[in-house]
């Protein structure tokens, strides 16, 4: 319809331009997308000049150009095309969908255009992932997708993040989405070895319509990662990307005492070093910054070289990457090396096509453990925050000297010793490969297969040197060669095979697509290791066994425990999918599948799941012809998906839960013995998530406003949960299916080009917003309980806090006050019976981001502010800084200067001598909502005219930063960690410089 109309417009334009001078001729034409629909707003530029225009509403353009000049046609999401101006004054262009797949929706091995998709899917292109200083691309996704929650509780380079799509949909089971890279399902917790610069796009599949293809592991949504690929008939292109960044510690607001304040307080209260000093001596102490000692500004360098080219029937993409990242915390780092080869090709007759994606990645990650613990001799973060400032690194000599007197106050010195004598690193070889092939049996019938594997090979080495403080401290008496070295080798291999037979037929305006699929998945786990006791200091080197001390007849100090384990798990599914479209106006897609899991081999192996999704492309209706909407589409889906990861332990967690088992264990006096190891639940079955989604996609005012709005409800039934059982069973909980939980919410993504220039290099400005509201409600627990402490109550949200309430300081006596269960003030709460449900939890209610992007004449500036609302966390760090019992041993906060005294009865904090300081209740439960400038970037794309005559075809430079500014009531180092563990490794603030050169 539009095509007819645009013909008339073109005629008018032709009339207008006839008055032009002849030397420059006017070229006119239409720019269409790959399905023949006109593209409004596409850029048309004369190569090597500043002259350009944009296509109008109907995809038409008109530009003056001389014969021999080249026109460049570009549009977001499509490959740029270059066409030389020849004799004809009319150039019509069909743009091909390009690397960045914003306009293509990927569902399984079925790619449909966005127009023909009925599902809630959100796709990010490479630009939003590259150039970010995170070793794991998952962290980069934070805030960019509505309904996608990314929480990273560690600043360790490449640390795993917790990923959730649209709330927590299981209590005990897995809550993270399935990750698929180029058709290969991969380990959802391990991305440190992968190079983000290889990624072309990331699609987040959220509703039942989208995830149906992945039913057996897609109940929590699916994240599809596509890596870059070469294009047919393209010249050799090389792209180098290099970045350097500097990370530093985010600030805290604990207001810690300096040496003089701390020593004076110690003196006043007759405790610690201060008690033995005169005022003059106290004045002579420096304040040593232990946070600065244990956390160092850290440098990261990263290089990626991508090479692509293609012939008539074959195209390739090769990538080589090296990444060297220092961690902010001493002794943490990540080094990584990546090679990727992606090759795709067709047979001459286009009947057969194949695609090979292969990547080999090796990383070494130095990763201190005991982070988050209260071990003063092991947790560096504890040392960084809590050490007394009147000691300094100069006080350290060696481990032996710290043995006597042994005192908590020497915490930082124990940790310096550990830095010097302890080693822990993991080496990892990760290979992901997938081979896809499809063959057109007839014009309508295609057979395809995707074979893929995820191979992981890890070697952990950890050693505590023989002269270290910790080795000496815990040495048996008479043991002159203490210390240990542990090594653990783990191999994990997962194989997946998806085979399909698809029949496709178009009848006039209708098209029908029917597919039969089967999927086979099997994962193998293999590990062994040893724990060597006893190291000879003269020959010790971490990772090497020269120093190992053998067992002897005199004692059992050097008996070395060994271990080995094999496990397997598997899934099998078959399913069918039917897709019907009428004139790109109406479409309906249905899926039905049967899934089996090895976890339920002895109980309820098979589960049946289905989904149905429909759409109405309103903007394609005749009555919408003159409306402001370029795109208006209504979608709805309803369906079920299964979860079989009962314990949330990944591929190899909870494999035997349906069986009653005994195990060989170390018994009395270390003797071999047989003991019950598992009480079975013979009724275990699939957990089911039923989701309903209604959404609308829109683009209006010449695509200046774009967005989507989705409402959803996800109901999880047969929830995996820990059912309390009587202790007479030798355990207190049983993994059962029971209960029901619901997540209801809204996703919104919105972008508005509030300034859009019509000429090349002009000023463009876009504001965007991403938001999610999610409400979680526990509908019932299977066993009929009203509440399970730690999990929540019926009618409340998951992980709702249950505690007794702090009610400030009693102005009369300086004691803490609390509310009892009835809301009356008490100084003596019963920590058991005075607890109430608080309607607060660690899971956010609202979250997302907002940002502004500008570009002008090659310069670009973009910002991303993330926000999270509705998170409450216990600030145990603050508790320790305010705990007067720590005086003499650890650092305290100046908050204590506002403690209650008879003269300061209005104080914020209780008396240092309050008689009920053992209680805390909700005193440290703190709002952790925040707004953070998560990312800002300023850069410059060198206009191509400056590159003419050089061998370069593009040059881009940028400066960016992450976690630059945070607004929050939270006082700690990192508000973003959704964890109640204190003394964690905080994520960093980083500044990066990057350059991209294309040859």
């Amino acid at each position: 319809m539009k095509t007819k109309f645009s013909g008339i417009l073109a005629l008018l334009l032709v009339l207008v331009v006839q008055l032009s001078f002849a030397q420059q001729k006017t070229i006119t034409g239409t720019v269409n997308d790959d399905s023949g629909l006109p593209l409004p707003g596409a850029n048309v530029i004369i190569k090597g000049s500043n002259t350009g225009t944009q296509t109008d509403f109907d995809g038409n353009y008109s530009i003056s150009a001389a014969t021999g000049q080249t026109l460049m046609f570009s549009y977001v999401g499509f490959d740029t095309q270059e066409i030389a101006v020849g004799a004809s004054s009319s150039i019509n262009v069909n743009m091909a969908a390009g690397n960045s797949l914003q306009e293509v929706v990927i569902i399984g091995n079925v790619n449909s255009t966005k127009e023909k998709s009925s599902s809630a899917t959100f796709t990010l292109s490479a630009e939003t992932i590259e150039a970010r200083p995170n070793a794991s691309f998952v962290q980069t996704l934070s805030g960019q997708v509505p309904g996608l929650n990314i929480s990273t509780a560690s600043g360790q380079p490449g640390a795993n993040s917790t990923v959730r799509i649209r709330g927590v949909s299981s209590i005990n089971g897995d809550t993270e989405p399935l990750f698929i890279i180029d058709g290969a399902p991969v380990d959802q917790d391990n991305f440190r070895s992968l190079n983000p610069n290889e990624i072309a796009s990331v699609s987040v599949l959220k509703d039942a319509g989208a995830t149906a293809i992945y039913g057996n592991r897609g109940a929590n949504g699916v994240i599809i990662i596509k890596t870059k690929s070469g294009k047919f008939n393209s010249k050799l292109k090389m792209t180098y990307t290099g970045t350097v960044n500097v990370a530093s510690l985010q600030s805290n607001d604990y207001n810690l005492m300096d040496s003089q304040e701390l020593l004076t307080l110690e003196k006043e209260r007759n405790s610690g070093l201060g008690a033995t000093l005169t005022d003059e001596e106290i004045a002579g102490y420096d304040t040593f910054d232990w946070a600065d000692y244990f956390f160092d500004p850290a440098i990261t360098t990263s290089h990626t070289l991508n090479v692509s080219n293609g012939g008539d029937n074959i195209a390739s993409f090769l990538s080589l990457g090296f990444h060297d990242q220092e961690g902010l915390l001493k002794q943490s780092s990540l080094k990584r090396f990546n090679i990727r080869a992606n090759v795709n090709g067709n047979s001459e007759n286009d009947k057969f096509s194949y695609k090979l994606n292969l990547s080999t990645n090796f990383s070494r990650s130095d990763e201190p453990n005991s982070i988050g613990s209260g071990a003063i001799n092991r947790n560096y973060v504890l040392g960084a925050y809590q050490s007394v400032p009147y000691l300094s690194d100069a006080d350290y000599t060696n481990g032996e000297a710290l043995l006597s007197p042994l005192s908590f106050v020497n915490t930082p010195l124990f940790l310096i010793d550990r830095l010097n004598t302890y080693t822990r690193y993991e080496e990892e070889l990760k290979m992901i490969g997938s081979l896809q092939g499809s063959y057109k049996l007839t014009d309508n019938l295609t057979a395809s297969a995707i074979l893929s594997s995820d191979y992981q090979d890890q070697n952990l080495v950890r050693a505590e040197g023989p002269t270290s403080f910790n080795a000496l401290l815990f040495a048996e008496s008479g043991n002159d060669t203490p210390g240990f070295q542990q090594q653990q080798y783990t191999r994990q291999f997962a194989f997946n095979q998806l085979t399909s037979l698809v029949w496709n037929k178009e009848f006039d305006k209708q098209s029908l697509n029917v597919g039969l699929y089967s999927e086979y998945f099997k994962a193998h786990f293999y590990t062994y290791g040893f724990f060597n006791e006893g190291l000879n200091a003269s020959t010790f080197f971490p990772g090497d066994g020269s120093a190992f001390v053998d067992d002897n007849a005199d004692n059992d100090f050097f008996v070395d425990p060994v271990n080995a384990n094999i496990a397997e798990s598997g899934l099998f599914s078959y399913f069918t999918r039917v897709d019907y479209d009428y004139d790109t106006k109406y479409g309906v897609t249905g899926t039905f599948r049967r899934d089996a899991s090895s976890r339920f081999a002895e109980s309820n192996k098979w589960g049946n799941f289905y989904s149905i999704a429909a759409r109405w492309n309103i903007s394609n209706e005749a009555f919408m012809e003159n409306s402001i909407f370029d795109v208006l589409k209504l979608r709805a889906s309803y369906g079920t998906a299964g979860n079989q990861d009962v314990t949330g332990g990944g591929l190899f967690g909870g494999l035997n839960l349906t069986q009653s088992l005994f195990a060989t264990t170390g018994g009395y006096q270390g003797a071999n013995s047989l003991q019950l190891s598992q009480i079975p639940n013979t009724d275990l079955k699939w957990e089911t998530v039923t989701s309903t989604n209604v959404g609308i996609d829109f683009e209006l005012a010449n695509r200046r406003v774009r967005g989507s709005l989705d409402g959803y409800q996800k109901v999880t039934t047969d929830l995996f949960l820990n059912q309390p059982i009587s202790s007479i069973n030798a355990t207190t909980v049983l993994n059962v299916n029971g209960g029901e939980m619901q997540n209801t919410g809204v996703d919104l993504a919105l972008a508005y080009d509030f300034i859009r220039s019509t000429n090349e290099g002009g000023f463009n400005a876009t504001v965007n917003f991403v938001g999610n509201y999610n409400k979680n409600e526990i509908i019932e627990f299977g066993s009929g309980e009203e509440e399970i402490i730690g999990t929540g109550r019926v009618g409340g949200k998951i992980f709702e806090y249950f505690d007794y309430r702090y009610a400030g300081v009693n102005p009369e006596n300086g004691n803490q006050q609390f509310l009892d269960v009835d809301g009356n003030i008490t100084e003596d709460p019963n920590p058991d019976t005075d607890r109430v449900w608080l309607d607060q939890s660690i899971i956010p209610d609202f979250e997302g981001s907002a940002g502004l992007n500008f570009d002008y004449n090659g310069f670009f500036l973009s910002t991303q502010f993330n926000y999270t609302i509705g998170v409450d966390r216990y600030d145990f760090e603050q508790a320790s800084f305010q705990d007067i019992d720590n005086l003499g041993q650890f650092r305290l906060s100046r908050d204590l200067f506002d403690s209650w005294t008879p003269e300061n009865t209005g104080a914020e904090f209780p008396s240092l001598d309050a008689t009920n300081l053992q209680f805390s209740g909700t005193r440290y439960l703190t709002n952790a909502d925040f707004v953070r400038l998560r990312f800002a970037q300023f850069g410059y794309n060198l206009p191509s005219k400056y590159l003419q005559g050089t061998s370069l075809s593009a040059l881009r430079m940028y400066l960016n930063g992450e976690n630059l500014v945070t607004f929050s009531d939270w006082r700690g180092f990192d508000v973003e960690a959704q964890s109640n563990t204190s003394r964690l490794y905080p994520t960093a603030r980083t500044f990066a410089f990057g350059i991209e050169i294309e040859f």
């Binding site: 405790s271 008690a275 057969f352 209260g374 003063i376 007197p405 042994l406 908590f408 092939g437 063959y439 395809s448 048996e476 008496s477 085979t499 037979l501 089967s518 999927e519 086979y520 059992d556 008996v559 094999i566 496990a567 598997g570 899934l571 078959y574 089996a596 899991s597 090895s598 494999l655 009653s660 088992l661 005994f662 195990a663 264990t665 170390g666 018994g667 009395y668 006096q669 270390g670 003797a671 071999n672 013995s673 047989l674 003991q675 019950l676 309390p724 009587s726 202790s727 007479i728 069973n729 030798a730 207190t732 049983l734 402490i789 920590p831 058991d832 019992d885 008689t915 053992q918 209680f919």
Partner: protein, 496 residues
């Protein structure tokens, strides 16, 4: 050629449709189904060794020390015992000890019952009957012990047969069972039955680290004393005292280095590399590691980071000439005679607990003493005193003191039953210091002996509390939250 491709693709497509069982019918390797666990007498022996390993005593040691008057806050305290309020007599259904005791001893009962039930399917080869009987005998003895241990903390009144005790667990339970507590009378009857069976099946008269007929007798004696069946208690305890006698000072010292068993009727042995070889949960009644890790992080000297020290009040009761002084007070202790006026007693008066110096070179790891002949002596003394044989009680106490001081001491004489029982309590306090008896002794004997919680005022300050009246409901441990959450029929103790 074209056909070949056709076939190849089809073959590939069909693989997935045919080979599904390989992925979903997986039996993990290295597993042993319960039904197949016990087939031979040797299997049953392994089951028994597993069951023994469920028995721990570190939680009792920790709780009795911290919740009564055996310890004070140490110089290296990181909030252990004080931050959760245990030292200040905070005890409720959510506390660590009720949970640790309940789970641990019910697990042990479960294991023992599986051995007993499993014995039915075992094929006994020729010459194995004796070994088989001995295994079963130990299992019955351990079941009796576990029931008594639970009863002794959960029952409000040991002498009242109608008071509630614990769940009688003499079978392998099912996961859907929610059982109410049985009465003392029912539990006592079960224990009596189990012990009779055990006595008839056991081969050994005595054995320091495995249940023997003497173990059975010692448990009967202790149970009789708790029930105030004093004639029985006196008879059984006196027999065992006669059989074992008392250690001299050297033997006594060696007993705590685990190199002498003169007085040992039964102890839980601990070795390097066993599942208790580690720190366990320091500062918590979950304990579960080295016994000495209940008091110090590293070793039993002043440089071993003692987070709990000996309570000043009990220290003041120990005479340096008494071998119990040198066993309990570590020589590296800093003793400040003027601790009461010290500006900072935490720094000047450091009384390091020396009872668990370690074994086989492993610091803090020691065997856990369960039944000693000195307990039999004190049970007999308590029985005689209660039966108004004050002279008999005095003679036994004198016998004990002579042995501990290594020289003849002035014989005591008692004018009243209370005075005699008071002396018994005082000796029990020293004899079983840091061994897990104090709480139950205060509960059952405190009022009759005129003794209560005895903390030094200086310690009271650090521990955040001074006294707990003997009438308090807190002298009976509550049913823990884990059971209340799971079992609708369980009855909570009064006051919780």
């Amino acid at each position: 050629m074209k056909k070949l491709k056709y076939i190849a693709v089809f073959a590939l497509a069909s693989i997935g449709f045919t080979s599904c069982n390989d992925a979903i019918e997986i039996t993990q390797v290295g597993i042993l189904n319960s039904d197949a666990a016990f087939q031979t007498v040797a299997d049953l022996e392994l089951g028994l060794l597993g069951a023994y390993n469920d028995f721990d005593h570190t939680m009792q040691i920790q709780f009795n020390s911290v919740f009564t008057d055996e310890i004070s806050v140490g110089a290296d305290s990181g909030g252990q015992g004080t931050s959760d309020g245990t030292t200040a007599f905070v005890l409720n259904a959510g506390s660590a000890y009720p949970s640790a005791l309940w789970q641990n001893y019910n697990s042990a009962l479960n294991s023992v019952n599986r051995v007993i039930a499993g014995s039915e399917g075992v094929e006994i080869a020729a010459g194995e009957q004796g070994q088989f009987d001995n295994i079963l005998g130990q299992a019955y003895a351990l079941r009796a012990f576990a029931h008594f241990e639970l009863l002794s903390y959960l029952s409000t009144d040991y002498t009242d047969d109608s008071a509630l005790a614990t769940i009688l667990l003499d079978f392998v339970p099912g996961t859907d069972q929610q059982l109410p507590r049985n009465t003392n009378g029912e539990i006592y009857a079960s224990i009596t039955g189990d012990l009779a069976l055990a006595n008839s099946l056991l081969s050994n008269q005595s054995d320091a680290v495995f249940a023997s007929r003497d173990f059975v007798k010692a448990l009967r004696a202790r149970m009789a004393a708790y029930r105030q069946d004093y004639p029985t208690a006196n008879t059984l305890a006196s027999e065992l005292l006669g059989a074992y006698g008392l250690a001299n000072q050297t033997q006594y010292t060696d007993m705590y280095l685990d190199t002498d068993n003169t007085e040992i009727i039964f102890k839980l042995s601990r070795t390097i590399g066993d599942s208790y070889d580690g720190q366990g949960s320091t500062g918590s009644a979950f304990a579960g590691g080295w016994a000495g890790a209940n008091y110090a992080f590293v070793n039993s000297t002043i440089n071993g980071s003692p987070y709990f020290e000996m309570g000043r009040a009990v220290f003041n009761k120990l005479n340096p000439a008494d071998v119990r002084y040198s066993v309990n007070v570590e020589p590296s202790s800093l003793i400040d005679p003027n601790y009461q006026t010290s500006a900072n007693p935490l720094a000047t008066d450091i009384l390091v607990i020396g009872k668990y110096p370690g074994k086989n070179g492993q610091n803090l790891m020691n065997d856990l003493k369960i039944f000693k002949s000195s307990e039999m002596l004190l049970i007999a003394a308590e029985a005689r005193a209660s039966m108004n044989d004050l002279g008999g009680a005095a003679a036994l106490i004198d016998q004990l003191r002579d042995a501990r001081f290594g020289s003849d001491q002035t014989a005591p004489s008692f004018a009243t039953v209370q005075e005699a029982l008071g002396a018994v309590m005082d000796e029990r306090r020293k004899e079983f210091l840091f061994e897990g008896h104090r709480y139950k002794d205060l509960k059952r004997l405190g009022a009759r002996a005129g003794r209560g919680i005895d903390r030094d005022p200086i310690d009271c300050n650090a521990l955040n509390a001074c006294d707990l009246p003997l009438s308090s409901n807190l002298f009976t441990v509550p049913i823990p939250i884990v059971e209340l959450d799971a079992n609708d029929n369980i009855q909570q103790n009064p006051g919780y």
